[in-house]
């Protein structure tokens, strides 16, 4: 079945194409569009499940190596590149005797191949190295891409089903699902691609679909601005990513993962302070990840992206697109682990982002914004994990986060739908009894995100914090742990706040009716750009545009259903009471809630060895075992093998290497392994170990600490928002600067606006002024000079030249005109006289000699 993974991206694409191209033209019904979309994704999911099962669980010969579809023929020669000069990192290569490898490869080419691909001569200091760059379009099935395939299609399926209910009644129904299908295609290409360029294609594709979907309500200024902001911020990251890809091609001569990583693992590690080519590549990759996964400082787009419909927020900005950065970092963990500086950078930025977003999330009033900042914060956690070397755990957290965050977003969507597109939590409250399904599923998500055992969030978050404390790959691990713990506390606090304000307590919406006239007017005015966006004002939400007085909320075809869910028809005064969502919306919630509850059990860590019996129970089902082959071990300088190496012949010899030299990320488990990263300073786990003298006790200490802080956060949240509602205001007054900073998102947007946007516009204005005044001035000046010159020449011609000609003509005229006019008497007899005179002259001339003689004779006789 794994041979058919090429269908997995194709099916959503076909569904999107049908919906997008034919959906409006042939006026598909909502059922048809939804059916096509959901059906395509469901099929893709089933094929993914079957493929992953056949790959990893049924003794497949490729396990745990990557399976490329090119091995079975599905490979499209996308960019036939030819010879590429590989001249980066030549010093490192020399150290590794890479020349020998290249020479071996050259020797293995047939004479025809060698004749075809002549190396180009380059002026380099080193002798030119060349490689054959051939970029193909083929899909790769390996543990990492398998995990992401399942997450994307599985969670995506739930969200698609939810969206069919949520987007009911929209005129752009077909467009929504077309874009969503396109997004699925792009995301799957991203995670299933076999080389960096396919990843880049998917990268850009999901960025594009994010733009299209955030701006789904394109007639609203807020949405249009947000979509542009998302795309442009993404693009900044993409620039770094592109440079990194160039570096990869220039260093390794190929873009295929297998090729690159096989070469990269032999490179020397660049320790802290030594910055080499792999550090540059890692930097570029991480910049891309920052843009895509909304890390500091490129996080600004994610909160604004909540202007899109809620399913979009769930799918793209919680579960899948924002995790693409994590996918990329984990995929290239070989390169990252070669650069200790970059690992530190990743960890620190992840840590900073986590606490930063958590602080902001505490004060937000829009339910979706809270979840957005929560997403940013959790992404920070994931990068923290990656930075300390626990790549497996970061992917595990991606998975659990996808479950509970998608669940909570969909739950929020259900709340918004039930509240008739009200998003401000200050107008919610007590929804527990109106929307039971939504409430209980959200409850599960809440417990998961707070990190309560045995919900999924606990397993992953605890492992992250443990790995941060015990890491031997980077220094300052203790700082990362500390800040992460504080961020976890904040997470628990604001999530409890959300629960309290939304589901518990009294129903505030009865006092402040949702969808009031003033609010609608404000929203309309804001859309038109008249009213400024006032953070303190009631939020406009993601509802479509309405004129004041118009019916707010989706059109309900089933009036009976509407009445039924209200429960009581009487007492219905103008304001609509919230109601539970239809089944198409709460069934996916239930599915996701189940996953959020039990999904973490695949990641039970070694701390529970005493309970489960093995370090990583579950065989291939355990996430650590599953993802181990894709993580590179800097000690062994090879990729890990699954800890339960029970199948595969290749696994056996590798297991020998594995046993004596475990990965440094698990270096804290019993043995202190000397890593190639040298002394990384104070190690918190080791310190605790020195106190407890028992490793398992150390781990349990940390588990208890994280449970404790989660509990503290939850209690504080309950205290502030259930027990004594005046406490928030008191503490806001006391911590006024911090409160203001948090409420205003640390003024990051304003700073960017001042520092970048306005400066760029000033520069543009300056360039425009230069162009219009100087360049155009020069051109116009030349034109004026030409005109002046032509004036001068014209004057010369008119007065001087023509003057001469006219003078001569006048002179001739004055001379000849009277004479000639005198001859033209019009009098025929004058003409006859002239003829006769002429005749006489002719005759006289004829007889000239005779006449002369006669005259002489006469005169002689006369004398």
């Amino acid at each position: 079945m794994y041979k058919y993974i090429w269908l997995v991206p194709l099916l959503p694409l076909i569904g999107a194409a049908i919906n997008g191209l034919l959906g409006r033209k042939f006026r598909f019904s909502e059922q048809l569009i939804g059916g096509i979309a959901v059906g395509s994704v469901a099929l893709a999911f089933l094929i993914s499940v079957a493929a992953v099962y056949s790959y990893g669980f049924s003794g497949h010969p490729h396990w745990p190596n990557a399976y490329l579809t090119s091995q079975d023929g599905f490979s499209f020669n996308w960019i036939p590149g030819g010879a590429v000069s590989v001249n980066q990192g030549s010093a490192a290569r020399r150290d590794m005797d890479l020349e020998k490898q290249i020479a071996e490869r050259e020797a293995s080419m047939t004479p025809e191949e060698r004749a075809e691909h002549k190396p180009q001569a380059y002026m380099t200091v080193d002798p030119p190295r060349y490689a054959l760059l051939n970029i193909e379009w083929s899909y790769q099935l390996d543990p990492l891409s398998a995990v992401f395939m399942l997450i994307v299609t599985g969670v995506g399926l739930c969200i698609f089903i939810f969206a069919t209910g949520y987007m009911h009644g929209e005129t752009g129904f077909y467009r929504f699902f077309a874009y969503m299908g396109l997004f699925m295609f792009a995301m799957l290409v991203l995670v299933m691609g076999s080389n960096f360029l396919m990843m880049f294609v998917g990268w850009e594709g999901v960025g594009l679909c994010s733009y299209l979907l955030i701006g789904y309500y394109f007639d609203r200024q807020e949405a249009a601005n947000a979509s542009r902001k998302a795309f442009i911020t993404n693009r900044i990251g993409d620039f770094g990513f592109a440079l990194a890809i160039f570096g990869i091609i220039a260093t390794f001569g190929s873009a295929q993962y297998t090729e690159v990583f096989n070469q990269a693992k032999s490179y020397p590690i660049e320790l802290l302070g030594h910055w080499g080519v792999l550090s540059w590549i890692s930097l570029g990759l991480f910049i891309g990840a920052c843009g895509k996964s909304a890390q500091l400082p490129l996080h600004v787009w994610l909160p604004d992206a909540m202007a899109g419909p809620t399913p979009v927020s769930a799918l793209i900005h919680a579960a899948t697109m924002v995790t693409a950065g994590l996918y990329m970092v984990t995929r290239t963990n070989v390169i990252f682990q070669h650069s200790q500086t970059m690992l530190l950078v990743v960890a620190l930025i992840g840590m900073a982002t986590a606490i930063f977003a958590a602080i902001i999330g505490i004060t937000q009033n829009d339910i979706k914004k809270v979840l957005a900042y929560s997403t940013v914060s959790q992404l920070g956690f994931m990068f923290m994990a990656a930075g300390v070397g626990a790549f497996v755990i970061s992917i595990f957290h991606v998975m659990t986060h996808a479950f509970f965050k998608a669940l909570m977003f969909l739950g929020a969507g259900s709340v918004i739908h039930g509240m008739h597109h009200e998003q401000d939590m200050r107008r919610m409250g007590g929804l527990k009894k109106y929307m039971p399904y939504t409430y209980w599923t959200f409850f599960a998500g809440w417990l998961a995100i707070c990190g309560i055992i045995p919900f999924s969030g606990f397993w992953s978050k605890d492992e992250i914090l443990w790995n941060a404390a015990s890491t031997t790959q980077i220094p300052l691990g203790w700082l990362v742990w500390l800040v992460g713990t504080i961020a976890a506390t904040c997470t628990a606090f604001y999530m409890t706040r959300l629960m309290a304000m939304t589901f518990w307590g009294k129903e505030r919406f009865l006092e402040h009716p949702a969808g009031g006239e003033a609010d609608e007017a404000h929203a309309s005015a804001y859309d038109k750009g008249a009213a400024p966006h006032d953070a303190a004002a009631w939020s406009a939400g993601d509802r479509p545009r309405h004129e004041p007085g118009e019916h707010v909320g989706p059109v309900h075809e089933d009036v009976a259903h509407h009445v039924a869910t209200h429960g009581h028809g009487a007492g219905h005064h103008g304001a609509h009471l919230p109601h539970e969502s239809p089944r198409s919306m709460w069934v996916p919630l239930v599915v996701l809630a189940v996953l959020a509850t039990i999904g973490g059990l695949i990641g039970i860590g070694p701390a529970f060895e005493s309970v489960t019996g093995s370090k990583h129970p579950g065989g291939n089902l355990n996430i650590s075992n599953w993802l181990a082959p894709i993580v590179w071990n800097p000690v062994t300088r090879e990729f890990n093998v699954p800890h339960d190496a029970s199948h595969g012949a290749e696994a056996a010899p590798a297991a020998e290497h594995a046993a004596p030299a475990p990965a440094p990320s698990e270096g804290g488990h019993g043995e202190f392994v000397a890593t190639p990263y040298g002394d990384t300073g104070f190690n918190l786990a080791h310190a605790v170990d020195n106190v407890t003298h028992k490793h398992s006790l150390t781990e349990w200490t940390f588990i208890l600490i994280s449970l404790l802080v989660a509990g503290i956060g939850m209690v504080l949240g309950w205290l502030f928002y259930r027990k004594s509602p005046r406490l928030p205001d008191i503490w806001a007054q006391r911590l006024r600067p911090l409160y203001a900073a948090s409420y205003n998102k640390f003024w990051v947007d304003e700073f960017y606006g001042w520092a970048i946007t306005r400066r760029v516009m000033d520069a543009a204005r300056g360039v425009f002024a230069f162009d219009s005044r100087i360049v155009d001035g020069i051109v116009n000046g030349l034109a004026t000079v030409s005109r002046g010159f032509s004036l001068v020449v014209g004057a010369v011609d008119k007065y001087f030249v023509d003057g001469i000609v006219n003078t001569i003509a006048a002179f001739i005229k004055r001379l000849m005109s009277p004479l000639l006019r005198a001859a033209q008497t019009g009098f025929t007899q004058n003409y006859a006289l002239v003829m006769v005179l002429g005749l006489m002259v002719a005759v006289a001339l004829f007889f000239a000699g005779d006449i002369a003689r006669a005259l002489k004779q006469m005169l002689g006789a006369a004398m």
């Binding site: 009098f827 006289l833 005179l837 006489m840 006669a854």
Partner: protein, 228 residues
């Protein structure tokens, strides 16, 4: 061709008559007088032709020139000139300059001709071997041998016969050309002398000019163009 006796006398009479008539032609105030004087001049010259032995030409001159051309002149004078003399004191000679110039020219030409004749003729005579008087006597004798006419007063000469022989034998091409010339002259004169009405009736006016003329004289439009 020396004439003698009565021939000489008649020569002088007719010669002086011709000159006098010619002079008066040019100087007459009335155009009809001019025409009549021209007729008398032509008749005198015809007589000189007879004295030169060119009887046919004399006859042709009288018939064609006088009888045809001068009658034509008289008709034209009638058409054109009738009212011209009523005024009486019209000048007949054009301006002084013209008259003076022509007189000077004429005097010069007279002097030149007389000189040339008087100088050249003896030279011409000298080329002839024959004695003019003897040749004239021979000519008289030859004339006597001709047959007499019906009334007995004149002889029938062979001049016409000679002309006929030469005209149709050696000058037949010029003869034909002359006939074509006359044909052209007939057509041309008919065409030239047409009135506007005649031209419109014959459909010989081009449309633009026709419109202009109709604008001036509306009756033209009524004229039916004669078409085949």
């Amino acid at each position: 061709m020396t004439l003698s006796g009565y021939e000489a006398l008649f020569f002088w009479i007719f010669a002086l008559a011709a000159i006098f008539a010619g002079l008066l032609t040019v100087m007459a105030r009335n155009a009809v007088h001019s025409a009549l004087f021209l007729i008398s001049s032509l008749v005198s010259v015809a007589a000189l032709f007879v004295l030169s032995g060119a009887e046919f030409i004399a006859g042709v001159q009288i018939l064609v020139y006088v009888g045809g051309v001068m009658v034509l002149f008289l008709f034209v004078i009638m058409l054109v000139n009738v009212g011209a003399e009523e005024k009486g004191s019209e000048e007949i000679f054009n301006n002084q300059r013209q008259v003076t110039a022509s007189l000077i020219f004429c005097l010069l030409l007279v002097g030149g001709v007389l000189y040339a004749v008087s100088q050249g003729f003896p030279a011409l005579q000298a080329k002839n071997k024959t004695d003019p008087l003897a040749a004239a006597a021979e000519q008289v004798a030859r004339d006597r041998s001709l047959a007499k006419g019906a009334t007995g007063t004149s002889r029938i000469t062979a001049d016409t016969e000679h002309i006929g022989n030469n005209l149709y034998r050696y000058a037949s091409l010029p003869f034909e050309i002359a006939s074509v010339l006359l044909l052209v002259a007939i057509i041309g004169s008919v065409m030239l002398a047409r009135t506007l009405r005649q031209e419109v009736s014959a459909d010989d006016v081009d449309p633009e000019t026709l419109q202009e003329e109709i604008a001036l004289d509306p009756e033209l439009a009524k004229l039916e163009p004669r078409s085949e």
